[in-house]
């Protein structure tokens, strides 16, 4: 077996491509959940982002406008969820599932005339002199801008949640919405904003699939990435940095197993395909073994509706 033909740089590029949609959607959902809202519609928002981003990018010829449209599209459908759950107080679980179904259907309808079209390619960020450095340059300085943005977003979310007053208020809504309300904060409005942010991130993640990872539009093409993003948030124990770990690990194992198969390593593909899920389960088991810590991490008001009676 010649492992030297496994090019770590090429694998890294593939890994990042597989991990970035998960990372974007998960970091958005993390903020939503930190505000106390459980939005199970990530998959639906992603596919809407995938189709709106694709339509905008092919119509305007600009991938950047595509990404912008994807974020707006994702945020727009998330407002539907926000309106239903925050003002009409519908069940978050049922509404989230409905949002996924709605998103998949609407995206299929919107995308019917966009089959078989090639989207404009996203340019890679090339830094003069630096990107050409062997290995290091290729590994760290030759990706498309979305990848750097996604990592920056994780940092920004961490900073916002842990180092700013607004972040503290948002977390307060997630931990005890009655207390936040009695202090004069508008819980509904704050949650509305968090849901929109989550929608925009999911939309971006979806567009990354349709514009970069598989540059094409096919119905249902996100194929469950949204659900993995939801699991990664729990895996990360609602900590932004761990979302990177979760998303990259999941993407990494997926790519590693495909690459090993292409190399001809005779490990049963079934086991390799299972690995990311098994690792996720093991980590979840280890994490939840300490019951006190696990319950400390989850926002206390996660998934409960808030209704101001006065």
């Amino acid at each position: 077996m010649d492992f030297s033909s496994l090019d770590p740089v090429a694998m890294m590029v593939l890994l990042i491509g597989a991990a970035t949609p998960i990372l974007l959607a998960a970091i958005g959902e993390l903020v939503v959940e930190k505000a106390g809202v459980l939005n199970l519609g990530v998959e639906g928002m992603m596919i809407i982002g995938a189709v709106t981003g694709f339509i905008a990018a092919t119509t305007t010829g600009s991938p950047m406008l595509g990404l912008l449209a994807a974020a707006l599209g994702g945020a727009a459908v998330s407002m539907l969820f926000a309106f239903l759950t925050q003002y009409l107080l519908s069940s978050q679980v049922a509404t989230g599932l409905a949002l996924t179904l709605f998103g998949l259907g609407l995206a299929a309808l919107m995308g019917t005339s966009y089959n078989g079209i090639k989207p404009p390619r996203m340019a890679r960020l090339e830094v003069e002199g630096v990107s050409d450095i062997p290995v290091v340059g290729e590994l760290f300085f030759s990706h498309d801008p979305v990848i750097y943005f996604s990592l920056f977003l994780v940092f920004a979310v961490w900073y916002f949640l842990n180092r700013t007053r607004s972040g503290l208020v948002l977390r307060a809504c997630g931990e005890n919405h009655d207390a936040a309300h009695s202090l004069g904060y508008n819980v509904q409005l704050i949650r509305f904003g968090a849901i929109m942010f989550g929608g925009a991130c999911a939309g971006l993640g979806g567009a990354y699939v349709s514009l970069v990872r598989v540059p094409q539009w096919t119905e249902g093409m996100t194929a469950g990435v949204g659900w993995i993003a939801l699991a990664i948030v729990v895996f990360a124990a609602w900590k932004p940095w761990r979302v990177i770990l979760g998303a990259y690990m999941f993407g990494g194992i997926t790519i590693l197993q495909l690459s090993l198969q292409a190399l001809g390593v005779s490990i049963s593909g079934a086991y390799l395909s299972m690995t990311p899920y098994i690792v996720t389960i093991v980590v979840l088991v280890i994490m939840s073994a300490d019951r006190k810590r696990a319950s400390l991490n989850a926002p206390a008001c996660l998934g409960t509706s808030f209704h101001a009676s006065h």
Partner: protein
């Protein structure tokens, strides 16, 4: 995930039922239901089955009424969807994925008055027929092209699940490629899904990294074709032509043509002549079509592929003609011997020359 699919299925059934309420005034049309494993817009496998459904509608007009449920996971959910469909008064149900095999038989047992048609399976009952296409005939033709066209002598194969249907395709393609290029090697990647464009694209990329310059696939989306186009390698359309996704990369394609079969079976239900049968048609009756050859393929290779296709259609050539050994070197077919359908239907071994272990 499963929960939402079930909801989706239930919602779709609701629409199907609502739709059928209108038909009462036109007498009693035959109702045909279809269950798809992917979205009808996958532009591959499920898309072609739905084209067959549309052909049924077009052929019979008001005399028939069709409904479908898409993206139904294989397993328990499929059983629920079929049960709902059977309860809604559908006369004939086409279940169009291998993994629907046991669910189809279970549901068929409870609804003796409804007839079922299961694609690519091998278990039948009094009210369950099976049908499939001899895709391996098409694989032989594109295998010849792949073997002739590869410059790196590395052909990549994105495989879904290790079931006889898929294994047969790999063997047929490999034997054909090897017959024109003794140095050819196949790299097989199992992705364990029928439809996941992201993963299919990743698999294509991983194969290209390993030096593959021709990609074949047994998954349902055009993702691999898109990647092949982008990376400048060659590929074949699978189930659908997929020309739009790889104008340069696409060499040819295997196209599934289910329409005539669906029309015939619905006709049989109308006439009351439906019987449980096992249909396995190939290039000759047109169930398997070979897509137009790309201009990239040199004339002599085109002629070779066309001749093979014609010979298969005429019954003069069988893609599995001995001498063929199994992967472990043991003899399978003696010189001149051809494989029987039983062995082909249950094929669970690689032929000699393919490296790597076949997952079980």
């Amino acid at each position: 995930m499963k929960f939402t699919k079930t909801l989706a299925a239930a919602a779709a059934m609701g629409f199907a039922l609502a739709g059928s309420a209108y038909a009462g005034s036109h007498g009693e049309p035959v109702k045909a239901g279809f269950i798809y494993v992917g979205p009808v817009g996958d532009l591959g496998w499920s898309y072609e089955h739905d084209q067959g459904r549309l052909e049924v509608e077009e052929h019979f007009g008001d005399a028939v009424e069709t409904s479908f449920v898409e993206s139904v996971p294989e397993g328990a959910d499929a059983e629920r969807v079929m049960t709902q469909m059977a309860r809604s008064g559908v006369d004939i149900i086409f279940t169009t994925s291998f993994g629907y095999m046991d669910p189809t038989l279970n549901v068929a047992e409870n609804f003796p008055d409804v007839v079922f048609e299961h694609a690519t399976g091998y278990k039948r009952a009094d009210n369950v027929s099976t049908y499939s296409a001899r895709f391996y005939e098409g694989r032989h033709v594109i295998g010849l092209i792949a073997g002739s066209m590869t410059e790196t002598n590395q052909v990549g194969y994105i495989a879904s699940f290790p079931i006889p249907e898929v294994v047969r395709g790999i063997n047929a393609a490999y034997l054909a490629a090897k017959s024109v290029n003794p140095d050819v090697e196949f790299k097989v990647v199992w992705v364990y899904t029928w439809f996941d464009p992201g993963k299919e694209a990743d698999a294509a990329n991983a194969l290209i990294e390993q030096g593959v310059d021709v990609i074949m696939q047994h998954t349902d989306s055009p993702a691999a074709m898109t990647i092949a186009e982008e990376k400048g390698v060659m590929a074949f359309g699978q189930a659908s032509d997929m020309m739009a996704f790889g104008p340069t990369a696409r060499l040819s394609s295997i196209i599934d043509n289910w329409g005539p079969y669906y029309v015939a079976r619905v006709q049989a239900v109308m006439d009351g002549t439906w019987e449980s049968t096992d249909t396995w048609d190939g290039i000759a009756p047109g169930m398997v079509e070979i897509g137009a050859f790309s201009d990239r393929i040199p004339a002599d290779v085109q002629a070779l592929a066309q001749a093979a296709s014609d010979a298969i259609a005429a019954g003069d050539l069988h893609p599995f003609t001995g001498p063929i050994n199994k992967q472990d070197g043991s003899a399978w077919l003696a010189a001149g011997e051809t494989a029987d359908d039983g062995t082909l239907a249950g094929m669970n071994f690689y032929v000699e020359g393919i490296s790597g272990d076949l997952p079980n």
